[in-house]
């Protein structure tokens, strides 16, 4: 998941905590193996290998594709799982390596959910295009691990994958305390939230960005022009019932750029923004 993953369980039985930890790690590994874009044995690798031919996907992948289709539709095309190819031009490593406009433009024909044919369970992905569940994968993994642990454990627990988290119940001390990092000052919480149960997800360029000529380019790319969304807050944290929902809301808000707050207000979401 490319970030620290943890499961906090309030228990005085170490063996129980270890058992749940193993369960969480197994579910997390399963999702990573299945949907990672870095592995050649993943479902994604198989889809890409089909190179334009119809490919029948398994039910879980089909659900993710349905979800991605709905997110693409409801965001007016801003949320797009085919935008990963833009990474060929963009590397968000904190450096000043902002790509050529031409290099970005050359990739645009390979971007756009409307270009692929998705009729559950058959996907036809035009050759050269790629799909990538990176925008929802981590939050989805949090929810899946949450469900797996909840089946086995009634003690208060919290699943936290790099700041995207979900808790089932308040610990004895009253609430889970969650800090939101201030960009540029890692490990320093700029806001402290209390969570009893529910999910929090944060989206932003807290860790992944480019900076050139005083302009900060966050890693949220607008799939329609291939460039980072401008004027977006540095980070948006959203509370919701599931981590997937919270994560998507945070991402959709960032995609609005300067309109992030207005979007969140209009949606009636509880959120915290760092500019």
């Amino acid at each position: 998941m490319a970030s620290p993953c943890e499961l906090l369980v309030e228990s005085d039985r170490p063996e129980e905590a270890r058992e749940l930890g193993a369960l969480a790690a197994a579910e997390c590994a399963r999702i990573e193996r299945k949907f990672s874009r870095y592995r050649d044995d993943s479902v994604l690798a198989a889809i890409h290998a089909a190179a334009g031919r119809p490919f029948e996907v398994d039910p879980e992948t089909a659900q993710l594709l349905d979800f991605a289709a709905e997110c693409h539709a409801l965001s007016g095309g801003l949320f797009d799982i085919t935008s990963g190819v833009l990474r060929r031009a963009w590397t968000f490593d904190g450096s000043a390596r902002v790509p050529d406009a031409a290099a970005v433009a050359a990739l645009l024909p390979l971007v756009g959910f409307h270009r692929l044919r998705w009729r559950n369970p058959v996907l036809e992905l035009p050759a050269g295009m790629e799909i990538d569940f990176g925008g929802i994968g981590k939050e989805y993994a949090v929810d899946r691990v949450y469900d797996a642990v909840a089946m086995r454990c009634r003690r208060p627990f919290l699943v936290n994958f790099g700041g995207d988290l979900r808790a089932n119940a308040a610990p004895k001390s009253g609430a889970w305390r969650v800090g939101i990092e201030r960009p540029g000052a890692e490990r320093v919480a700029s806001k402290l939230l209390e969570l009893e149960h529910g999910a929090l997800a944060t989206s932003g360029d807290t860790r992944r960005y480019l900076e050139k000529d005083g302009v900060r380019y966050g890693h949220i790319l607008d799939p329609r022009d291939g460039w980072p969304v401008r004027g977006a807050p540095q980070s948006v944290t959203v509370a919701a019932s599931s981590c997937t929902e919270a994560g998507l809301l945070a991402t959709l808000a960032l995609l609005q750029g300067p309109g992030a707050r207005a979007f969140l207000d209009a949606e009636g979401v509880r959120y915290w923004v760092i500019d």
Binding site: L192, L200, S241, S242
Partner: protein
Amino acid sequence: MPVTLPPAGSARRRLIAASCALLGATAARAQQPADSTKPVASGTSVSNAASVPAPVEDATPTVDRPWILDSAIAYYRENDGRVSSVEPVISAHHDFGDERLLDVSASFDVLSGGSPNGAIPSRQPQTFVTPSGIALKSPAGNPITYTNTSGKTTSALYKFSPYTVPAGTLPVDDSLHGHRIGLTGNYQRPLSQDSRLSYGGSVVDQSDLFSIGANGKYSRDFFEQNTTVSAGVNGQLESVKPTGGTPLPGTDYLLFQKLKSKSNHDFGALLGVHQVISRRWWSEFDLAIDKQLGYLNDPYDIISIANSAGSISDYVFERRPDDRSRRSAFLENRYALDRGMVDVSLRHTSDSWGVNSNTAEVRFRYWNPQRDRYLEPSFRWYKQSAADFYTPFLTNATAPIAGYASSDQRLSAFHALTFGVKYGVKLDDDREFSVRVEEYRQTSDNRQTPPGVLQGLDLYPGINAIFVQFGWRFAE
């Protein structure tokens, strides 16, 4: 770049629906209205954040909020083959989240054995008829004639089984068999961040009694939830239908003049304060008043009429006032120990009938170092004064009696001690087994000397009873 977005608010609703479909959630969760989600609270520092009671985000109630079920079977037995009862109880507790709690319980009580009929022992054997006879569905019994209040005589088929009590023994009616079904329900919901409303109802169905009750309570927290003030009201309607009919109070036992079924009602109010004093110590103080109106007699209680020589000449049905006001004050303190707790409570009640009582109870709970076993010894002391109209017998009276009188032991002066111990085994977080044993010793404080030959008889024998309860608690 211009963006075409759906109307405000709808993105979230579509997202909720889509995430639920993705995560395989139930339809019920998908239907949660978007505006029902409550936020987490935020603060700028730990101490500040800690003082904010954090409202919670709506979460799925299916996996992480189990039903907690408490089941128990209780066995109660009095000495000398008197009343015994077996009572299975099951109660369920469910937390819907967002401070919404539901409690329901059901009990079924089977009563057998005998109960004192109110008459005193005599130097002669005494013969009684089962209090009101048991109505028969088949013509196997003997016809009995009774006269109602308007003087009308009716004949009906009753099985009336006379029973004879030997000289010198307390008359106990062995025909007392019955069952009792009780159901209660209570629901609590938040009104605001720091106030709650709870309301509930109850139904009791017994072979000779039916009652329904309702209650409501408002609670509000102050001082960061360290103080909770509650105010409540309750009401109950009870219909009394003694088997075979309701005796006319104060009349001759042998004439058995009957009334139709009678009823009474009861209204009460309560004011309470719950105070957290320290991390380990809380205290609760309650004041309650209550008024009962209507038919408040024990339809089976009869009073012996003795002459000055000490022979029993007659029996009358008891007669009580038709209203009763009660007041009570209750103080409880609980202190948590490192491996256990201590709980001390005191109660004082007084009523318009002259029954004043005091109760003191102490309970300790000790956990073993592994915290999977506990032992809970308890001790209760109780003392009450007699009702103004309590009399164990009447002398030189004739039926029907004019004033109030009752020989019901429960209205007499007595004190009682209860010794108990409970042992609990926690199998895991979700399952607990317990067994509780209590011994109850009631001693009469009645000093009224009977006339003539009745002297020397044990008129006030007291009660010894044993109570055993097996409990099984689990989360489902």
